[in-house]
């Protein structure tokens, strides 16, 4: 178990990590999600002991390790840039942490072959890394982290330089591989989609602060504030300022529907209304009951879905629909919103006031 207790890191005048507390369980998968410079790498370096926090404590299984160098701790790290020993074969690269530990020949042989098999590297064991593709090089680095049997495995955007499809495959495999080792597994990414595919728990980062740390799907479904919701949205959330008055939502003189059927209604007042692009429909349905006049901007057709950028008053929204819809730039259309999918955030501090009822909750 790894604990961060009120950890901060200041470099010069800038606060890279601001008062972060979190507990990472053994055998758990933890995603650090946030844009570039939100503090993901800084946080990982503190976890690893590569950097010493300015204040706060890092504990492993209750033991204080703040300031212990990474060498005294059993940590494996994999970076976005593949790092391998160029002069060694893939076999020797994977074996290197075991050799440092002084493992026996037969143990090394077994573990290297096992890891190579899992990461589909068996046929490349005799090559040197420079004769491999980027994906194979990164798999070599991952195999080395795997055999190390580290208690803490830190992967910093490990798939960012790989091809889309390869990423898709490794995303499915990686959590499974490392879950079996019982290590605390930390994975940094800028992509909401990747966090969702990995599952586990997600810490959303914003400017050095962890805004929320919870099960991944819960952070996605019920973000504690607008900032977290935006960090965890791709495509971006549609947002607008509204007034709630006796259950009715008004954006200026435009009606945005009512929260009539929703029980836990917050108090009347000003809110930020947010909803996801795929919850806007081009047809009126039972759920999509709120018509809104919009002007079409650019559309993007992926072959199975269509992203339509629209302007509503002074707001820009994205509508994501199934199938192929051809609409022309400048067309006036009506889009339909589903109030059961609305989020309301406090217009004062951005905190979540109302979240959609999710399937998971409905099932409980």
């Amino acid at each position: 178990m790894l604990e961060l207790d009120r950890v901060s890191k200041q470099v010069g005048t800038s606060l890279h990590i601001n008062d972060v507390s979190m507990t990472l369980e053994k055998g758990s998968l933890n995603v650090l999600l946030g844009p570039t410079l939100s503090g993901k790498t800084s946080l990982m370096r503190l976890m690893a002991g590569l950097d010493k926090p300015t204040s706060g404590d890092v504990r492993v299984d209750g033991r204080r390790v703040t300031g212990h160098s990474v060498r005294r701790r059993n940590v494996a790290m994999v970076y976005q840039q593949f790092i391998n020993y160029p002069a060694m074969t893939v076999y020797e690269n994977i074996a290197s942490p075991l050799r440092l530990e002084g493992a026996s020949k037969s143990v090394i042989e077994t573990k290297v072959r096992e890891a190579a098999e899992l990461l589909k590297l068996t046929e490349f064991l005799d090559r040197t890394p420079l004769n491999l593709s980027g994906g194979q090089q990164q798999r070599t680095a991952l195999a080395r982290a795997l055999v190390k049997g580290a208690e803490l495995v830190l992967l910093d955007e490990p798939l960012a330089n790989l091809d889309y499809k390869l990423r898709e495959e490794l995303r499915v495999e990686l959590p499974r591989l490392f879950a079996e080792t019982g290590a605390v597994f930390v994975y940094a990414t800028t992509e909401p989609h990747e966090a969702l595919l990995l599952g586990g728990r997600t810490a959303a980062l914003h400017e050095g602060t962890v805004t929320q740390f919870d099960s991944t799907i819960d952070v996605y479904n019920a973000p504690v504030n607008l900032q977290t919701a935006q960090t965890f949205a791709d495509p971006p959330l549609n947002t607008l300022s509204v007034q709630l008055d006796n259950g009715s939502l008004m954006a200026g003189d435009r009606s945005m529907g009512s929260l009539g059927q929703r029980a836990e209604r917050p108090a009347d007042g000003a809110y930020s209304l947010a909803f996801r692009p795929h919850h806007v429909s081009l047809q009126a349905t039972e759920g999509h009951s709120v018509p809104v006049q919009a002007i079409v901007g650019t559309s993007e057709i992926t072959g199975s879905e269509t992203y339509i950028h629209v302007t509503v008053g002074s707001d820009h929204w994205v509508v994501l629909t199934h199938g192929v819809h051809r609409v022309n730039n400048g067309d006036a259309i009506t889009v339909y919103l589903d109030p059961s999918r609305f989020y309301l955030f406090s217009s004062a501090d951005g905190s979540l006031q109302l979240a959609p009822v999710t399937n998971a909750l409905a099932a409980a």
Partner: protein, 361 residues
């Protein structure tokens, strides 16, 4: 702007290529229409960068010709071809201001001052950088720098084509969204011929009118995003486009009967019996996962091994008669313990030795 003709183009990095396998780019014949938006899509090593380098003039092909309209440019340097290029990493001058950076390609070509001022002003506005016009590029974020790179590529109206080599790979998701849309807008506005290289299907599909899918040096399909999704010409395209990709299952066809994963289905189309390896493709989006009642006799049993809730939808992974199958279902769908897969048989594609076979009637 120009139409670009690839005439029996092929390239090998070897001095004396002996057979097809020695070619990084196998023969391609194609005409890129004037004003079209094209994407070259494929995994690393598929030959897409080789093709782009031939178009830009960084590489002279071992075989064939390339023409801009009627001019043979095969041996011409990039400068002589009058093209603009945008790369993965921003190429800008850190010591110049944003404005000066955007003006640079125009100043270089002796465009007159009033015209430069107008175009740079327009571009600053389009890129939403007007407020940073007189800032030096040095202090800007990576996203902003890449925006300037895009602007430098787009600021000249007289280029034959604009080539993009993975321009958004290093950009964060939110900004990627904005820049991608911006690029599409700029294409609609100026009508340049644009060629965009990427391994990212979302970028390729949303940007391009026509996507060129490459695999092991070969063009396996050129089509609209819709065509690539609905009727992949090759099982590789089925796998590569879509997340997860198309399910490719062993099967057979005979008249109106299609067998896949050891289940028979009657379809409206008619297929002649096939020799060679027959496989059936079905996109995960066209498989519904439900219980016995929901299937109403139309489903086949599916052993579900995992359900990944990825927010917008759920990916159901499992097996049908021992064959791995993925399905994409609605975010609200409940996956029953005893699950049935209902396959939309109008969406089945038939493959013989990896190539699409169309119905005979």
């Amino acid at each position: 702007m120009a139409q670009i003709t690839l005439d029996k183009l092929a390239h090998s990095y070897m001095a004396n290529p002996k057979n097809d396998n020695d070619f990084a780019l196998k023969q391609i014949d194609y005409v890129w229409e004037d004003g079209g938006a094209y994407a070259l899509l494929g995994p690393s090593g598929c030959g897409k960068t080789t093709l782009l380098n031939i178009i830009s003039g960084l590489l002279v092909p071992s075989k064939g010709h390339i023409r801009f309209d009627t001019t043979d440019v095969t041996e011409m340097s990039p400068e002589q071809r009058n093209i603009a290029q945008v790369f993965q990493f921003p190429v800008i001058y850190d010591t110049m201001t944003v404005e000066e950076n955007l003006a640079f390609p125009l100043v270089n070509r002796g465009v007159d001052k009033a015209e430069i001022r107008k175009r740079v002003g327009d571009m600053l506005e389009t890129l939403e950088l007007t407020d940073k016009a007189s800032r030096r590029a040095r202090g800007l974020t990576a996203d902003e720098k890449q925006k300037i790179s895009l602007g430098r590529g787009l600021v000249r109206y007289d280029v034959n084509a604009i080539l993009f080599d993975e321009p958004l790979t290093v950009i964060d998701p939110h900004m990627k969204w904005q820049l991608r849309t911006k690029l599409k807008e700029l294409h609609e506005q100026f009508g340049h011929t644009m060629i965009y290289v990427t391994h990212d299907q979302t970028e390729a599909l949303t940007f391009a009118d026509k996507v060129v899918v490459m695999y092991e040096g070969e063009v396996v399909q050129i089509g609209t995003p819709e065509e690539l999704f609905d009727e992949p010409a090759h099982t590789f395209v089925g796998y590569f486009i879509g997340s997860p990709g198309m399910n490719i299952l062993p099967g057979s066809v005979d008249g109106h009967q299609i067998r896949l994963a050891d289940h028979g289905f009657k379809v409206d189309k008619h297929y002649d019996a096939l020799a060679g390896l027959t496989e059936i493709g079905i996109r995960p989006e066209f498989i519904r996962v439900t219980d016995a009642a929901g299937a109403a006799g139309k489903g086949v049993p599916m052993q579900v091994s995992s359900v990944e809730n990825i927010g917008r939808h759920q990916i159901v992974r499992g097996k049908i008669n021992g064959h791995s199958v993925d399905a994409v279902v609605d975010e609200d769908a409940r996956i029953p313990a005893e699950a049935y897969a209902v396959i939309d048989t109008s969406r089945l594609n038939v493959y013989q030795d990896s190539h699409l076979v169309r119905a005979s009637r």
